[in-house]
Amino acid sequence: MYAIVIDDSSAMRMILRRTLSSMGFKVVDAVNGRDALDKLANLDYVPDVALIDWNMPEMDGLTFVQTVRDDPRYRRLSLLMVTTESEQSQIVRALAAGAHEYLIKPFTPDAVAEKLELLGLTTAGSLT
């Protein structure tokens, strides 16, 4: 399984990388939506899941979601927003834009695992 973590915070990228690695994912990361699009274009595979922060400089998470949802190359990429944006209206907005799941910070590793399970990417108890 492959994941791309998109967050402008290096601490958050580290935390998500650690969590995903413990579940067996190979992880690449990007510092914003624009960087993620560049990284995706240069990979010779499409990751199974993108974990996407909302508030980032240059290209935010919502714009990234809208962009990849319109690109047939990334049809099989599951989009999981991981953000402090917790209002119902923001969740609806992200899901309407094309996000498949939504995880609010702060989160626990178990919460990440649950969302990945909902996306069909892990099974229960996959955290090591």
């Binding site: 290096s10 601490a11 402090t84 944006e85 917790s86 209002e87 209206s89 702060p106």
Partner: protein
């Protein structure tokens, strides 16, 4: 969550719960909140904050010592305190403000936007014109003091409520 038309700011208890959640989730540790302010106003403190703008405008500010901020970074990056760079300290400390501020934004209940976090090495360099402190909580973690405060921009607002239903504006 029901979105209100009147800003509804978190109570001290809700702010404390937010902080405790962040500590448990990301630092895998407990933080002691609800303390008296430390009696050392001249201590040099780092400050991290995020601004919330829109139908309610203010910011969430976090203060701690350099040692406290290094401890946060070392816990997040799982490194020794002396190994973390200044950039990593600023990034991790700013992310704390981002997560607590994001939680506050979600509680305010009106349409707002959250800024990217900012970090300054010495809180004495920070001036917040036209802002007044709505609430603050003091905490201690690994022996270092922390303060989390919520600031409201503009005149004290009679329409701003607290989650327990108590009007806090104009008091």
């Amino acid at each position: 969550m029901i979105e209100a038309t009147t800003p509804c700011l978190p109570s001290h208890e809700e702010l404390a719960e937010l902080v405790e959640d962040v500590w448990r989730s990301f630092l895998d540790d407990e933080i002691v909140v609800g303390l008296e302010a430390p009696d050392d106003p001249d201590r040099t403190l780092m400050v991290a904050w995020v601004s919330i703008t829109g139908e309610w405008t203010g910011h969430l500010q976090v203060l701690t010592t350099r040692v406290g901020a290094e401890g946060i970074a070392s816990a997040m990056f799982q490194m020794e305190p002396g190994e973390v760079s200044s950039e990593e300290v600023a990034d991790a400390f700013g992310e704390i403000a981002n997560m607590v501020g994001g939680g506050v934004k979600g509680m305010v209940g009106v349409h707002t936007a959250l800024s990217l976090p900012q970090v300054v090495l010495d809180s004495r360099a920070l001036i917040s014109p036209e802002a007044h402190q709505h609430s603050s909580i003091h905490a201690i973690w690994r022996g270092e003091p922390l303060e989390f405060s919520l600031w409201e921009r503009g005149e004290k607002n009679e329409k701003t409520n607290q989650h327990n239903g108590t009007a806090v504006g104009g008091v």
